[in-house]
Amino acid sequence: MSGLKIVVLAKQVPDTRNVGKDAMKADGTVNRAVLEAIFNPEDLNALEQALELKDRVPGTTVTVLTMGPGRAAEIIREGLYRGADNGFLLTDRAFAGSDTLATSYAISKAIEKIGAFDVIIAGRQAIDGDTAQVGPQVAEKLNLPQVTYAEEILNVKGNEITIKRRLERGIEIVKAKMPLVITVTSSAPDCRPRNAKHTMKFKHAKTVSEMQDATEDYLQLYNSRPYLQIPELSVIDVQADLVQLGLTGSPTKVKNIENVVLQAKESMTIGNNDQEIEAMMVELIKNHTIG
């Protein structure tokens, strides 16, 4: 079998797992500046599945596709250091404010632009939203079958692929045909570390915008080694319809955000009487601790 063409969808996310006291601003909005930007954990599991397929099927190429601001190029470099072949940064102001539906639309247009592929692999969900929607929605937009909650790709033969899924209370083994979309859960193997050779090779990989800040001899370097250029894709490049992007393309709107106050523990003493117990229960209902 000739090699597979794999696209890995990866997102740069704020590390919401280690949120300190200063994560919230006084006005109740998230202080993104203090949260470290990381490779979404399950997207690393997805990358590993892609790299394993590349190990197994000679001639396979792995492309990392990231949608985000300019600094998300970091995710593509990280992918290259670990063994991906190339990457694209999907970036445009018009994407700002997109919900999962508008995001999936943009990503599906970018995948169409990148061209022929056999497998699209994404993490099941991103830790900044936990929605698990983008994978299935991209599949729907591209009219492809999907296999979600994948833990292991067991076998690839011809255009047939066998996948183990991890569900709440068990497993399921499914057989599917390529092309398809796979989303990978955190119970899948961790991603391999950076490879020293690849890290050397791609150390200076940069997007066009990043290159504009580069010095003269870097420009020469990029001309002689075109693989160091990370292509950027804009709305125009992927021929996306502006109406389906950003806030206008997003059916869901955020009406209101409340800050969950993580204050130092100070116990409230509640007396053994109906009034005080009722006041406590009302407060717990109001702050959504109980439904």
Binding site: V19, T252, I285, H288, T289
Partner: protein, 339 residues
């Protein structure tokens, strides 16, 4: 037309708890909106499924029964739901935030371009004023959920696109039969014109699903009892509170040693570790070995006759009193104030 729909998940002929919880919530939202509650059941050999579903106050139950639908598969299930929603134009559609609902929901919402909010912890009806467009939207579904690793609570709305879709996790909402003798209409879906061979490109070749076990670690609310509960009989109060709030029951080692609860419920160093949204410690002193299994709970309530019990030092609310007096008061207050 424009009713509220709940997708019912079925495993081994049994409707999943999360679906029954959504039917319960759906019933009260539908009443508030003055619309009908409709349910969708897809599977094989669903002869007695109506008896499980209609008593939750379901006005119309749509059933798609076919051998090929015995287990959940994305494409055929999505094709049936899309077809039904295109005809019926629901205003609201709810699904469980399970591996099924989170696979199906986004697929359907993408096809209908309707938007979807995952993992809601609360659903309410309310209005929305769009000041820029100078327009007031009435009776929208407020889809309330934590975001950013639980650091913020966001209220999401869906002003213009229908259905307003949301998924909700198991155990977040309560489950309550509306009327055992409720009269609902059954509509059988003819799947032949809907399904194509292409819908079956993904096939299941093996499946190992364990029978339901208690799932304390996955529960957002844990009501745990200790030696101070006093008897196995008194432990029933804890089950009652957990049931009302949509939680699970845990225990300290002393309570397990006394035979008040099974070992699989033991929380602590030699038991399981839990991190629920709410931990209610009933008659538990709070020794370090116990705290090791629960001190990362987002909120802790302690009920203890001893105002100086060590657990009170890490509790957000410390109630001084006996378990047998306090719990009934909490249940009463909850029932009075929850919608």
């Amino acid at each position: 037309m424009n009713n509220l729909f709940v997708f019912c998940e079925i495993e081994d002929g049994q409707v999943a708890d999360v679906s029954l919880e959504l039917l319960t919530k759906g019933r009260s939202l539908a009443t508030q909106l003055g619309c009908k509650l409709e349910a969708i059941a897809i599977g094989y050999k669903l002869n007695d499924i109506a008896q499980q579903i209609i008593p939750y106050g379901v006005d119309v139950l749509h059933i798609a029964d076919d051998k090929r639908l015995v287990h959940y598969l994305t494409l055929p299930y999505a094709a049936i739901v899309n077809d039904l929603f295109a005809k019926e134009k629901p205003q609201i559609a709810l699904m469980g935030a399970t591996s099924v609902g989170r696979d199906l929901g986004p697929r359907v919402s993408s096809a209908l371009k309707s938007g979807l909010t995952a993992d809601c912890t609360s659903l309410m009806i309310g209005n929305h004023e769009d000041k820029k467009a100078n327009k007031v939207y009435e009776n929208l579904l407020y889809q309330i959920r934590p975001a950013f690793g639980g650091n913020i609570i966001a209220t999401i709305i869906n002003p213009d696109c229908r259905p307003q879709m949301a998924t909700v996790r198991e155990g977040v909402m309560k489950k309550e039969v509306f009327n055992v003798a409720y009269k609902g209409e059954i509509k059988n879906i003819d799947v032949k014109p809907i399904l194509t061979d292409a819908d079956f490109v993904v096939s299941i070749i093996e499946r190992h699903i364990e029978k339901r076990k208690i799932n304390i670690q996955g529960s957002p609310i844990v009501v745990a009892g200790g030696y101070g509960v006093g008897s196995k009989e008194n432990f029933k109060l804890l089950y009652e509170l957990a049931d009302v709030l949509g939680g699970e029951v845990g225990a300290s080692r002393a309570a397990v040693d006394e035979g008040y609860a099974d070992h699989e419920r033991q929380i602590g160093q030699t038991g399981i570790t839990v991190r629920p949204k709410l931990y209610i410690a009933c008659g538990i002193s709070g020794q370090i070995q116990h705290r090791a299994g629960m001190d990362e709970s987002a909120m802790i309530i302690s009920i203890n006759t001893d105002p100086h019990a060590p657990i009170n030092a890490i509790a957000d609310y410390a109630i001084t009193g006996s378990v047998s007096e306090i719990i009934p008061k909490m249940i009463k207050a909850y029932k009075k104030n929850s919608k």
